[in-house]
């Protein structure tokens, strides 16, 4: 695929949010739409969610994650959305220039008229890092384990304890049990379940996996690999209650302690973030504080249903398309004013052609070299002389002015740039 220098809408991330944004941007008239995805396939986190529970709102069907994603991938491909896979966006500027890097596509440097941020979320690791004890192999986030089991085809352990009653953890408890592993316990520091009740019933109760509320891990044991964890009951302030410790032998501790929007890139683009959600502050068009940069999906706040992520993506894609088309119109109206022979620069730098329909436009510039005899000051389009005037001399110290008037509109309308130059007579 030949990459263009400039796209109408560039979407970062190809999860349900990004795919929906791409589809909707196309439908609302954006021509060049590009998705950049760091993984080797489109679909985002859904690709590792092989369980059912997706699409009930939108399709009135209960689909596994990859099938849900596939419907949108198919539609995006039909609409000729372009995609760069295995490519990670490194930087975005507030002027919507995008830098990305890839093993297969090399270093990517493109300009977008509008951007949709759809980077999703990452798992929290805070609890993990404050866990006292040793630092052996066998402590993973539930999502990492999910990737190993569902995508790579490997079991990361035989006997598990899961810290946190988040949905991914409970879903993994069932998945691991299917695979013949033993899940000893799910521990939750809060006095209530943090995931969906549905998952508690279908993933824990149905498989006799005990859930202990108001419990946490006090210590990890084992030098090379986890050998056990010490569980403990906590009070309302999350402090361990002495005497309630219990050693649970296991070889793996999974952490399922919540998700947090992924906004490293948003920060680089100067997008304002909400301290509470961890995601960008957006308006009803899903536009962030930086004009032309939109955001949708779990990058904004963590949704509990993928269907709502899709809806948000559709809305953001539409707004991005509108913005991009307005940009295009602006670009068509605006042409650059270039410095030609013996001209250092021209101000203004660009001309809004429509102004010329009604008003004069004054172009001002300085020359590079003095010419102490009469010269022409000329304004050319690509093919024609638009106007000229004569000066008795030109000197770098003295600014020169030439005026375009509504009389020139017709010629200028056809031009894609204008050049101002000094021509010796």
């Amino acid at each position: 695929m030949a990459l263009k220098d400039k796209y109408d809408v560039v979407i970062i991330g190809s999860g349900p949010g990004g795919l929906a944004a791409a589809i909707s941007a196309k439908k609302y008239g954006a021509e060049d739409v590009l998705i950049i995805e760091r993984d080797v396939e489109l679909g985002g986190i859904l690709l590792q969610c092989i369980h059912n529970g997706f699409g009930v709102e939108i399709f009135k069907e209960d689909l596994p994650g990859p099938s849900y994603a596939q419907r949108f991938i198919n539609e995006a491909m039909l609409l000729k959305v372009e995609a760069l896979l295995d490519t990670m966006v490194l930087d975005i500027t507030p002027q919507r220039r995008i830098f990305a890097s890839s093993k297969i596509n090399g270093f990517v440097d493109i300009q977008a008229r509008a951007i949709v941020l759809a980077m999703g979320c990452r798992e929290r690791t805070r609890a993990q890092v404050r866990l006292p004890g040793t630092r052996p192999a066998g402590v993973y986030t539930a999502g990492t384990a999910q990737r190993w089991v569902n995508v790579e085809g490997y079991m990361p352990g035989k006997r598990f304890v899961i810290l946190g009653s988040g949905d991914i953890g409970m879903i993994m408890a069932r998945r691991l049990t299917f695979e013949g592993a033993k899940v000893e316990r799910v521990l939750e520091v809060m006095p209530y379940l943090t995931g969906l009740t549905r998952n508690y019933v279908q993933c824990l109760l149905d498989y006799d996996i005990p859930l202990q509320l108001q419990h946490t891990v006090k210590r990890i044991l084992g030098h090379q690999r986890v050998e056990a964890i010490e569980a403990v009951r906590v009070n309302e302030k999350w402090e361990p209650i002495p005497g309630t410790e219990e050693i649970i032998p296991c070889d793996t501790l999974l952490l399922s302690v919540g998700l947090i929007p992924e906004n490293e890139l948003s920060k680089k683009a100067g997008v304002q973030l909400d301290a509470l959600t961890g995601g960008p502050v957006v308006d009803n068009n899903f536009e962030t504080s930086v004009p032309g940069i939109f955001a949708a999906g779990n990058v904004v706040h963590v949704y509990d249903l993928v269907d709502w992520v899709t809806e948000a993506g559709l809305a953001a894609g539409k707004s991005a398309a509108r913005f991009a088309l307005a940009e295009r119109r602006r670009e068509i109206r605006h042409i650059p004013l270039l410095a030609g022979h013996n001209v250092r620069y021209v101000v203004p730098h660009e001309l809004d052609k429509q102004t010329l329909m009604e008003e004069e436009v004054r172009l001002q510039f300085r020359v590079k070299q003095p010419v102490e005899e009469p010269v022409w000051v000329e304004v050319h389009s690509e093919n024609n002389l638009i106007t000229r005037k004569s000066e008795r001399y030109v000197r770098p110290g003295e600014m020169v002015t030439i005026v375009l008037t509504p009389r020139h509109y017709e010629e200028v309308e056809r031009a894609t740039s204008l050049t101002v130059s000094i021509v010796e007579r």
Binding site: R130, R135, P136, G153
Partner: protein
């Protein structure tokens, strides 16, 4: 007849690696053995990473001499070996009026040790230089020659340069005993068989007492592991740009708050004597202690900012200082003992051991010369360790060029620290191959960001498996017994 070397270095921490590196300048055959799966997994990779100015040790001790001599070496050394190092200077911060007089004592001690440029600054000046400082600051001692470094890089860079210059390194090779001919060491026994040698250098860190006792040297010498725990804070949440020490206590320099070269802030260490030389577990109570210490210097730090915790073990010895009139019982041992022939004995190398390592290496060379060893310089000795590209540090134009040269530098594997597949592969095939996850982590800082490797882990396991030509099931975090995965899933088997 076992393989025989002129010198065998026992232990691949900062000290052993620096000794090997400086000795590699001479016409000697050298072997370095390390019991772990990688070099630098002991104290040398779990410390405060400070290149001390040298005002802290008692005048007259080996600690003071080595520290001050080594501090001067660091600019050249870091340049030659490409070790990230910055001379940012450091502060000892007095809080409240009572601590102020202690600064004068430290200043005087520093002057006697020969530390240049130190002076005391006012509370106001301190608040200006570090806006996060406790407002009750009463003054601070400023030592401009203090520095910070990438601690992982020290052992690795020194060992790699040693290998460049012909030193052989054997990992997962543990010293078990000496082979003696009367009073003369003629070799060592290891789990991988015997090796002959004329000289053995004891650089075994926490186990230096065990090693010297095998040669019958200093039976009264004992190393007590003294644990120091740390927290690393997220650079996105808070940054302290300076190295801040509290006024020291009798047993340790206290809990400091310091900048790292990566822009994170670290808090620690505390000090707790323990029994088990392998117990690097972080404790619940210890973490609490860190916060009391941290808040004394920077009240705005919060446990919410923590992204990682770890602990290191100081090899705290009981060797008396040999300078007459200096009453001190925890000095370094750097000697060729009389009881046996063929042993260069190092012991009790606790802080400032990281700083002192290059000076210790030079002192070892002196001792060998004094013992009659004719050290002949090699004309082709190469002191420079060539750097390898670090994608995240490059401007876009150079990133582009690097990817064009080798597309593997285009694939980001660690999203927080921006480490690429190219860098990982380069480390796997480096002069000292990185064969475990942690070995790659120490060389690239991958997995040390806020997501703690949850993104990169499966990807790194894959790359390691591919480059080493083994199954992902064989890949470990830090050597045998620390495999990440246990078996394929049923679908894959079926």
């Amino acid at each position: 007849m076992p393989e025989t070397y002129d010198v065998i270095v026992i232990g691949g921490g900062a000290v052993g690696c620096m000794v090997a590196r400086f000795l590699s300048r001479y016409r000697l055959s050298i072997l370095l053995i390390e019991k772990e799966a990688d070099i630098g997994m002991g104290a040398s990779s779990a410390n405060s990473a400070i290149i001390h100015a040298g005002y802290d040790p008692l005048p007259g001790t080996l600690k003071a001499k080595m520290n001050v001599a080594a501090n001067l070496m660091w600019d050249t050394l870091a340049g030659e070996l490409n070790i990230p190092f910055e001379r940012r200077g450091d502060y000892v911060v007095a809080i409240g009026p009572k601590e102020l007089p202690k600064l004068e004592l430290l200043l005087e001690q520093g002057r006697r040790n020969g530390v240049p440029g130190m002076h005391i600054i006012s509370a106001e000046e301190m608040r200006h230089r570090e806006p996060n400082i406790n407002p009750d600051v009463s003054g601070a001692l400023w030592a401009p020659t203090g520095g910070i470094c990438d601690p992982f890089a020290i052992s690795i860079a020194a060992a790699e340069n040693a290998v460049q210059n012909g030193v052989r390194i054997l990992l997962e090779t543990a010293f078990e005993d000496f082979i003696m001919d009367g009073k003369r060491i003629v070799g060592i026994k290891t789990n991988r068989g015997d090796f002959g040698c004329r000289w053995a250098v004891n650089a075994a860190g926490l186990y230096a007492d065990v090693v010297m006792h095998k040669a019958g040297v200093r039976p009264e010498f004992k190393i007590t592991p003294r644990r120091g725990e740390y927290c690393i804070l997220d650079r996105a949440e808070i940054t302290v740009n300076n190295v801040l020490f509290p006024v020291p206590s009798d047993i340790s320099k206290g809990i400091l708050v310091t900048a790292t070269l990566h822009g994170n802030t670290i808090v620690g260490p505390n000090a707790q004597d323990i029994e088990d030389k392998e117990d690097r577990a972080v404790t619940y109570d210890g973490l609490g202690e860190l916060w009391d210490g941290a808040h004394k210097l920077v009240p705005s730090l919060s446990p919410r900012h923590v992204i990682a915790v770890f602990a290191g073990l100081r090899a705290s010895g009981n060797a008396p200082c040999e300078t007459p009139g200096v009453d001190y019982n925890h000095d370094f041992i750097i000697e060729i003992p009389r009881e046996v022939q063929g042993l260069v004995n190092l012991g009790g190398i606790e802080s400032p051991g990281l700083t002192s390592a290059p000076a210790i290496a030079l002192r070892v060379i002196e001792l060998l010369k004094e013992a009659g060893e004719k050290l002949e310089e090699k004309p082709d000795w190469q002191p420079i360790r060539p750097p390898r590209p670090r994608f995240r540090d490059l401007p876009h134009e150079e990133q582009k060029r690097l990817i064009a040269l080798d597309p593997r530098y285009g694939r980001i594997v660690c999203r927080c620290e921006m480490v690429t597949e190219g860098e990982i592969v380069a480390e796997i095939h480096a002069p000292i191959p990185a064969r475990t996850y942690d070995a790659i982590k120490r060389r690239t800082w991958l997995g040390t960001g806020r997501c703690l490797g949850s993104f990169d882990m499966p990807r790194v396991v894959d790359i390691l498996a591919q480059e080493l030509g083994v199954s992902p099931l064989a890949i470990t975090k830090k050597g045998p017994g620390s495999e990440f995965l246990v078996r394929p899933t049923k679908q894959v088997e079926g």
